[in-house]
Symmetry: D2
Subunit: 136 residues, 4 copies
């Protein structure tokens, strides 16, 4: 299952090369991720109130074409790995006007509590776990 | 008393107009502010551990010249108002290479606790208060 | 005439106080501004291709309540001043869930060319000018 | 050869988890990179005036410990690959107070002109090329 989110490039997100600054794609991944969890009724805000945090332990991105100011871009988010204490999401970014592939990336996350100690999400929240597992 | 801090403009801080994005000056004000408090031995981090937070209640900036990538800029920070529950800092930003005035701005802050409730800083931390008062 | 835009607060936009960082409101003003011009068929990107840039010469914000992660916020943008070489927009930010006023701000802009030299927009682009004038 | 740069964590760079937002490490990599080139007398700004741009084509980061507000962090930057049209830098981030490893990352770059067309940097700028080659 893939989640699709659309955003519009902000002027703030460009740099003097006239394209989107490379670090800002990781913010877009976050936007896709939030939408991904919201659509499963697992809002990150809600998870945090249950003392579940999802810090990123690894992230990467390949930049294939440039996104520009005012472009509408599509963020596809997909769960591709799920273990007791970790998971991985893949992201694909497209420019909508001409369906051009802009970037591909991923984030790997741990399940931790507010002390940043790892927790076993499967045991702590078995129902939410199954919701995720069904996506694989 | 004025506090002086020097930073170098990051590529991230530019936009496609080739100059620093207007919203980023407020981050520079924050850098000047942190340095201002650190030099008084009132680090913001330390204050937060004592349950004192300094949220901004108003901010403004006039943009006079453009800062560019790789410029070294000087941030001058000055306390100009101090009341029981509020204070105001003024900031002046200069390009160092030619001493050009870049921007002038201010922030007004409340003293609050971690619940974001106003506190009377003068009563709660009289010593720190006097340190600030002596600057006026 | 008021333009209305809705955005959702990104995790990136929060800080360790648990609320949106004060400087990020200026990015939201920019989002409202872009939408404002787009709805008049005066996209900023299009204007830049015609060698018209709209740098901010002054900006300010009053922070009334805190926006938080995942909040949907409404940005209202309104043209309130228009002169030969300058204009001013006002912004009002609301949290949508409970219609709370979050912040009020403004930006003042010059009309300049790509060399950042002031231009008389009324003379250079009389039609676009009238579109703006009709909003006052 | 390794380049070392020190920065201090800004409040803006934290998020509501109380640590530095994962995407901001890529900005720190950029700070290290600029310093790396400056120390070789190859300032990025100077390169851009010679129509040489260095867009990122791939980036990644592993997050090992959390950086926090006001931490002084050390950014080590090292050239590890250099080809006709591409190069790779590795970055290591340490918290200075206790010498803790915070993160490890990399960026891969193309040499392009202002039209974003690839250029052969070795042929176009043989002297600058040798400066880089000598670091491997």
């Amino acid at each position: 299952m893939e989640n699709k989110t659309v955003i519009r490039v902000r002027y703030k997100e460009t740099d003097q090369m006239g394209v989107v600054y490379y670090g800002n794609y990781f913010t877009w991944f976050e936007v896709g991720r939030n939408e991904f969890f919201r659509n499963l009724n697992l809002e990150c805000g809600e998870l945090e109130r249950k003392d579940v945090f999802l810090p990123v332990i690894e992230a990467g991105c390949e930049y294939i074409n440039s996104a520009k100011f005012d472009d509408e871009v599509l963020i596809k988010t997909e769960l591709v790995e799920l273990k007791g204490v970790r998971f991985r999401l893949n992201y694909t970014i497209y420019r909508i006007s001409d369906n051009t592939l802009i970037a591909e990336g991923f984030t790997r996350h741990a399940f931790v509590d507010s002390e940043l100690k790892p927790i076993n999400f499967r045991r702590r929240h078995p129902e939410a776990w199954r919701t995720l597992e069904n996506l694989l």
